[in-house]
């Protein structure tokens, strides 16, 4: 059906998008790569020449590197665990017959649409403030000492805030998957006397495996670059400095662009490892 004419027209139609994205990818990436091999201090002399792999060695060698990797893994892992476990439970629950299902869905999905700076600041002040926060009132009501959430349990608090934001996403995707489950298969298993945990482990969970994988991969990519939630709550203090935040501080706060760029290259490599797995799944789906 496609003629030579329509093919060249198609290429022409694609050109703007391809050229823009190619530029968006190549230009800054090349610059980051170049900077990472330089001693580059914009406020203190600017470009001070090539230094080979020194920035890469120094970035990994700095005392804040491994803690930042640890914080990143805890944050991403914690949020993934919470959103997947509760996401599966919520998806199964929302799939049950009930009154007002549409409204419950709306309530559950709402946090996803709240801008990150709003949710972080509302949680930080109105809920987690050790003096005036709602949690402090609640703790005092039960005679307990209020917790200084964002300094004493900082990483847990941020995990909680971020999980609240991402739970709707996991729930929505898992719910879509649950709804495509063959109910006859479940009924047959139930009639054969399989208790719920058996049906869950051998029918529901395998059916959800693909959706769970997708949720894990997509969330990981977004969670690796969590920024605003840390920026407005702790500013990277109290053990909440993720790799992303560390790079941000190196580049913009201490204006050590060479060092920060080397960190940026590490972050890009890390994100790409995750991305490869995601692309495989998405790619397979394109063939189908």
């Amino acid at each position: 059906m496609a003629t030579e004419h329509s093919r060249s027209a198609a290429r022409l139609m694609m050109a703007p998008a391809v050229i823009l994205l190619l530029g968006w990818m190549l230009v800054p990436l090349t610059m980051t790569l170049l900077f990472s091999f330089k001693q580059y201090l914009p406020m203190r002399g600017g470009d001070l020449g090539w230094v080979g792999f020194e920035n890469y060695v120094r970035f990994v060698g700095s005392s804040s590197f491994w803690p930042s990797i640890q914080v990143t893994l805890i944050l991403v892992g914690g949020v993934l665990a919470i959103t997947i476990v509760f996401g599966v439970i919520l998806a199964l629950l929302l799939d049950q017959p009930m009154w007002g299902q549409g409204i419950v869905r709306i309530l559950v999905i709402a946090p996803f649409f709240v801008m990150p700076t709003v949710s972080a600041l509302v949680w930080k002040n109105i809920f987690m403030d050790p003096v005036n926060g709602l949690f402090a009132h609640l703790w005092k009501f039960f005679g307990a000492t209020p917790v200084e959430w964002l300094s004493q349990a900082s990483i847990q608090s941020i995990i909680m805030i971020v999980s609240w934001q991402w739970l709707p996403f996991a729930t929505l995707i898992l719910l879509t998957a649950v709804q495509s489950l063959d109910s006859e298969q479940l009924e047959a298993a139930e009639m054969d006397g399989a208790p719920f945990h058996m049906r869950f482990a051998f029918i529901i969970l395998p059916h959800l495996a693909r959706a769970i994988t997708i949720v894990v991969l997509i969330q990981t990519i977004f969670l690796l670059s969590i920024f605003a939630e840390i920026f407005v709550t702790t500013g990277g203090a109290f053990g909440t400095r993720t790799l992303t935040y560390l790079i941000f501080q190196r580049v913009l706060e201490s204006q050590n662009v060479g060092l920060g760029s080397a960190g940026g290259v590490y972050a890009i490599i890390l994100a790409n490892i995750v991305a490869i797995f995601l692309m495989r799944i998405v790619g397979k789906n394109l063939d189908a």
Binding site: V104, V108, V118, V232, G283
Partner: protein
């Protein structure tokens, strides 16, 4: 055949689901309620839930003190501009990939997706530098361009999955009936493509509205949208809960409403068609 569900079971489901739903929604509800309190009521212990003197004062104060409308306007321009620009670039691309696929279409789609995976912080300084050189740091133009570029892969993907669902037979049928290419595009394809384009527009407007890396790092006083305006409350003076709540409510209300319309598109748009 669906199983008969006992009423008891349904009552229980309803009770549990509503409880959890309200619990999850509670922070938003509480923020909205707090925005109508006085500052003193906002921090009162025990907290007041519904029975307080409702006031609109905070909304007035927020607007007066910080010129809220300017931030709102910046948000609208930046989110709207980047989405519309993205659609202008993406519609032809997605169109040609869906209707005139070639051997490389799949590779191009996947490559586009891979640009979305690039961590923003990795290219922060280059973008910053380019912005300074071009004189577009802290301008709406600059942000429109960056947000258009970061959302372009999602826009292309969403449109592609929608266009893919338009059956090719309809095109052939209209051709048999003697429709010209212009007629075909105008009267056959466009009406079928409109819902997909509208959904894409909606979701990407939301994503751009809430974007909080580039909007925080590339703006200062002039082009700051609502994300940055709210962030300015992270170092407040005096009592500010009610005002923070009022500002927050105004920043999220329009998007919550739009968001509820775009639930379905959310799944498709953010899983790149892998879950439908």
């Amino acid at each position: 055949m669906a199983r008969a569900v006992t009423t008891n079971r349904k009552v229980l489901n309803t009770f549990i689901a509503w409880s959890i739903g309200i619990l999850i929604f509670f922070p938003i509800l509480w923020t909205i309620l707090t925005s109508f309190k006085t500052e003193a009521q906002a921090i009162s212990d025990p907290p007041v839930f519904l029975f307080f003197d409702w006031t609109l004062e905070n909304y007035g104060v927020v607007q007066e003190r910080s010129n809220y409308m300017r931030f709102l306007w910046n948000s609208i321009i930046i989110a709207g501009g980047s989405t519309v620009l993205g659609l202008i670039v993406a519609v032809p691309a997605a169109w040609s990939m869906a209707f005139v696929p070639s051997r490389r279409t799949k590779d191009i789609l996947l490559w586009m997706l891979s640009t979305k995976m690039l961590p923003a912080v990795g290219v922060l300084y280059p973008i910053y530098l380019i912005f300074i050189r071009l004189g577009i740091l802290d301008t709406r133009t600059g942000l429109v361009i960056v947000l258009m570029l970061i959302n372009l892969p999602i826009i292309v993907w969403m449109l592609y999955t929608y266009f893919k669902e338009i059956p090719g037979e309809i095109l052939e049928a209209s051709r048999m009936d003697g429709a010209s290419l212009k007629d075909e595009i105008l009267y056959v394809l466009t009406p079928m493509a409109i819902p997909g384009i509208a959904s894409t527009l909606l979701l990407n407007f939301i994503l751009a509205w809430n974007e909080a890396f580039w909007t925080l790092n590339l703006t200062a006083a002039k082009a700051a949208p609502l994300t940055a305006f709210i962030a300015s409350y992270s170092s407040p003076e005096g009592l500010f809960y009610a005002k923070l709540s009022a500002a927050s409510t105004m920043a999220i209300a329009p998007i919550l409403i739009l968001g509820w319309f775009s639930q379905k598109q959310l799944v498709r748009g953010l899983t790149f068609g892998a879950v439908k």
